[in-house]
């Protein structure tokens, strides 16, 4: 899989005009997004959770691959910014009438919409759409194939920074099905840009892409040894449909070897935190006691997800982000 060209997310002055991938962003850019998100983090506790930043703008949730959960986070973020939010079950729209993605997008553009949140099974879909839109319309990638899920990575970075402000000292483990995970790819890029000490990828050999080490990570298929010295443990979601005996053995065997339990958690650093993009499979990749335990920041990730998405939306629509 060739990575789509990420340069199109900048305008000629180096300002961020779309948010398609963290790959190619500078450390300063990422930190700037995280800093802006801070201003939205207490927003959720306000009496009136509403600011007029996107008032009179039309946000389109263009989900060619359905995801109620992710769609909801963008819908809530958009509505709190006072945008008009249009939810499109785009998969149905296009398949029913045989319309191409680009024709759908051009039609929506002609309706004077302002911001597209794009999710698709195909890698590079958001890039493709962004490349065909005029400058004043912005695109946020909400997950494209196995390629990228950059807002998830940013909310993860935000969550890590809340607990561990100095990235340069951190050893981070990403555990599970790396092969099929767009989340893992985006996290690895972000962690490296932010300059962590080590990213360690842990999973069955069948689920670790062969060329992953080129991304600047270490790999191991041994969770027991792999957790040593780790500050941040990011568990990935296992797709049940992968449990076919080929890539992954049985659920019990997977949980035994790669499921995060209280005992295994002891192997990491004393103050290690546990993350998961959700929804979690209790008893498959993570024990309930760990998911609900004091080291888990899984629900913090959800809360931060709203703030980070509001921040990115506000930034793109306001357009002040500098490249370098």
């Amino acid at each position: 899989m060739r990575a789509p060209d990420s340069s199109i997310q900048f305008d000629e002055n180096g300002h961020l005009k779309h948010f398609l991938t963290v790959n190619g962003l500078t450390r300063k850019s990422l930190v700037n997004i995280l800093d802006t998100a801070e201003s939205f983090i207490n927003f959720g506790q306000r009496e009136i959770k509403k600011v007029p930043l996107l008032r009179g703008k039309t946000l389109v949730n263009l989900f060619f691959e359905p995801s109620t959960r992710t769609r909801t986070t963008f819908e809530i973020a958009g509505k709190r910014l006072s945008a008009d939010v249009i939810n499109l079950n785009a998969s149905r729209m296009s398949t029913t009438k045989g319309e191409s993605i680009l024709d759908t997008v051009r039609t929506l553009e002609a309706m004077h919409t302002d911001l597209f949140i794009v999710r698709d099974k195909a890698s590079g879909a958001a890039h493709l759409i962004a490349a065909h839109l005029p400058d004043h319309i912005k695109v946020i990638n909400a997950g494209d194939g196995r390629h990228s899920h950059p807002t998830q990575a940013m909310l993860d970075m935000f969550t890590i920074r809340q607990k561990k402000p100095d990235f340069s000292r951190l050893k981070v483990a990403i555990v599970g099905d790396i092969l099929h995970s767009r989340v893992a790819r985006s996290q690895i890029h972000a962690l490296n840009i932010l300059g962590v000490d080590e990213v360690r990828v842990i999973g069955p050999r069948t689920l670790i892409p062969t060329e992953i080490e080129k991304m600047g990570v270490t790999t191991t298929s041994d969770l027991i040894g792999g957790l040593e010295g780790i500050d941040v443990i990011i568990m990935l979601r296992i797709q049940h449909e992968r449990m076919d005996g080929q890539l992954i053995p049985s659920e019990q065997e997977y949980f035994q070897r790669y499921g995060l339990t209280e005992n295994k958690l002891q192997l990491a650093n004393e103050d290690a935190i546990v993350m998961h993009p959700g929804p979690i499979n209790r008893g498959l990749e993570i024990a309930s006691s760990v998911a609900d335990g004091s080291r888990s920041v899984i629900l913090n990730q959800v809360t931060n997800g709203i703030a980070v998405r509001m921040s990115i939306m506000a930034k793109l629509m306001g357009g002040q982000e500098k490249r370098s």
Copy 2:
């Protein structure tokens, strides 16, 4: 079926913090809700049907069992109170990804949502959810299994009071499939709390639960005799899928024995009113001429449903309701 614990709908000071069931509420509480709803009843005729009571609040329609009609009433009520309304096809969300109801709810809670409208096929679902939420998040039960449908009961009480203000003199008949009706259960509780003279349950023996008399009602399987002296006739909806020859004979036979016709309506008191929670099956449980006739208050129930739901939402979010 054991009734879920209704005490969790009160806080330690006896204020109503959720609206899960009418069982356990005082007469004063019910009257207070009805009185508050009065202030919303002319609202629907206003030029601008919008008040800012829930502005900046996020209302989630969390329907694990789909119901476009009921969902719409809550969506309209919420939007007229200026809330941001998020509709979740929760059944699809959870079944697709194998997430548990409580994980879904905790995730939504982490997004700083304020009010859940919950509908589920399982009795006690709204109670379960309410029991696991922090105090500042409110739950309204929009129907759980065969157990309860309290907002429907309240709009019915409101509709009765509009026409017959003195509950103590009223004889009320509830006719049809009591066995499967959460509406009937909630109505019986509410009518008894409000102190009606008699609640008479009428239906085929196969559709009257054996222990229903413990709820303080009289029962009969004879509609002809049963309508004598009745002031309020509440017809229940028959589910077509029950027409399998076991619980109910044929549609024709059911209509002949239990369908409300003009002739049978003459057997009740002269000024008796006719109610139905909708949607009606014309020619099955009720004749069209009765449903559309001058004694029918079926559409009043719909109108009142918006006002009563706005009232309950405003009350929970404002939080002034006292228990006793």
Copy 3:
């Protein structure tokens, strides 16, 4: 098919109270709608695309036949007018519970909704609904069976007028599947009312209704000859499901005989414009180079669709339109 009675769209003073069909409207009426739409045409470029004309009003998208695209245009138009928009998958609502269309509509009316956007597979559905509503509730027909799609016709007239202000000189060709097209019927009415010089209907004999000439059009099955002298070419969408060898031969053969290519476009007048209601089938009824070419106004149609729908909504809800 008998045309539904269009007189019900006027009140006793000749004001337009519903928008069901262009048939029966005066030239003055149509021009008035087009003129009002002019005031909304630059609206889409504004910083804040929001006016409070329908604030506090409840608009219901009542789509018994699903159409994400058309629904979206009305949702966007309604939200920009500040209405509360309720989307109903009405097909599911009614079929699931066996409720009739009129009972659904009466129920929504009882919720004090203000404006229904109705789409249905059955001709006359919007008329039927309008005939049963009280005066203060308005109906817009968003497509009923093969009968009418009047807002599409109005946006087409608006688009034509932008490029060719003098209707009296225009020769307009409508090409394709006239037989199944509600769009074509509405366009023919509108073009004749606006007094164009000629409407020429072009398509396979099997797809031209036998009595169409009574509507005041000329017909031909020869696209080559038919394009001569034409100023406006309106291509219709071909439904793939019609490609069964009975009404239409193969896709290749259809494209060869009736698909609009650059070469065929040369046969029309030099400054002829090309229109299509969308979504387009590239390579079936129209070549990509034509659809995306300099003569195409297909995306202008989409943009104008929002303005025209806002204009009609505002007009009905304000109620100043005079019949003659």
